[in-house]
Symmetry: C2
Subunit: 133 residues, 2 copies
Amino acid sequence: MSKQGEQMRSNVLRVLRQRDAPMSAYDLLRELQSDAPRLAPTTIYRALEKLVERGSVHRLESLNAFMACRCEGPVDMSVLAICDDCGAVEENLATSVHEQLSNIASQSGFEPGRRVVEIHGRCASCTVDEVHS
Amino acid sequence: MSKQGEQMRSNVLRVLRQRDAPMSAYDLLRELQSDAPRLAPTTIYRALEKLVERGSVHRLESLNAFMACRCEGPVDMSVLAICDDCGAVEENLATSVHEQLSNIASQSGFEPGRRVVEIHGRCASCTVDEVHS
DNA sequence: GGCGTTTCTGTTATGTTATAACGTTACAGT
DNA sequence: ACTGTAACGTTATAACATAACAGAAACGCC
Ligand SMILES: [Zn+2]
Ligand SMILES: [Zn+2]
Ligand SMILES: [Zn+2]
Ligand SMILES: [Zn+2]
């Protein structure tokens, strides 16, 4: 059955990679239910959990959504820039921001773990569109 | 009726200030329903929206929860360090991290807006407890 | 191969967070 | 008082996430 599990993870990842924008777990569910009508949320969440663990997928905390990773560097050093107009997300590798963040938290004896670094705004192409309208 | 609205916001803020840890909107709902049994989620969310807008309350995106602000400086320049053991949240003013974050996003023409900077881990006192156990 | 143990999976049900929709109320300007 | 508008309360429902459990697969041992 680990064969099936791997199959599910690969299906989820494939669907995520087909998009440029983040998808919610339930978006994925609806998409995959066309092949497997009885598919349940739990199954999606389990696949997503593994994929996030292994660094193939980002979880966007401020959107409750997921997207395939397209980073060059380590997945846990990225800054996710989310366009509030079109929903597109840009990934930037930003090791120094993450290091600084850990350092600041450490100063009070806090033991740093998972970092969440996201920024909302408007992407370049949407900004141009705004000028034209 | 703006009197009622302000009253509600002040009630929500009061309850949040009584705690050291974040509360979900539904935590607040349950708390306030002892006085007003018919109180609905929407009302809480509207109050929270205003309070976040005016900088009295932080929204913790990675927890889907809220807490009263106890920052010294500007509310939108803080780093929130969340202890995964005890739930306590430390606020650190970290202007430089936020500036760097905006700069990185700007490099690709992204127009920066709201930033989300949170870090999970273990607070000093929970780290000590761990050693003792 | 047979058997117990462990881990993973599918399924059902439920819990939690958030918003849509719509009628009502307050209030300012006339 | 009349009207426009912004805020509000209320109901219902959508969206996100996990608990609980039973059954299947994988593994190690004999
Ligand atoms: Zn990435
Ligand atoms: Zn855009
Ligand atoms: Zn604060
Ligand atoms: Zn702690």
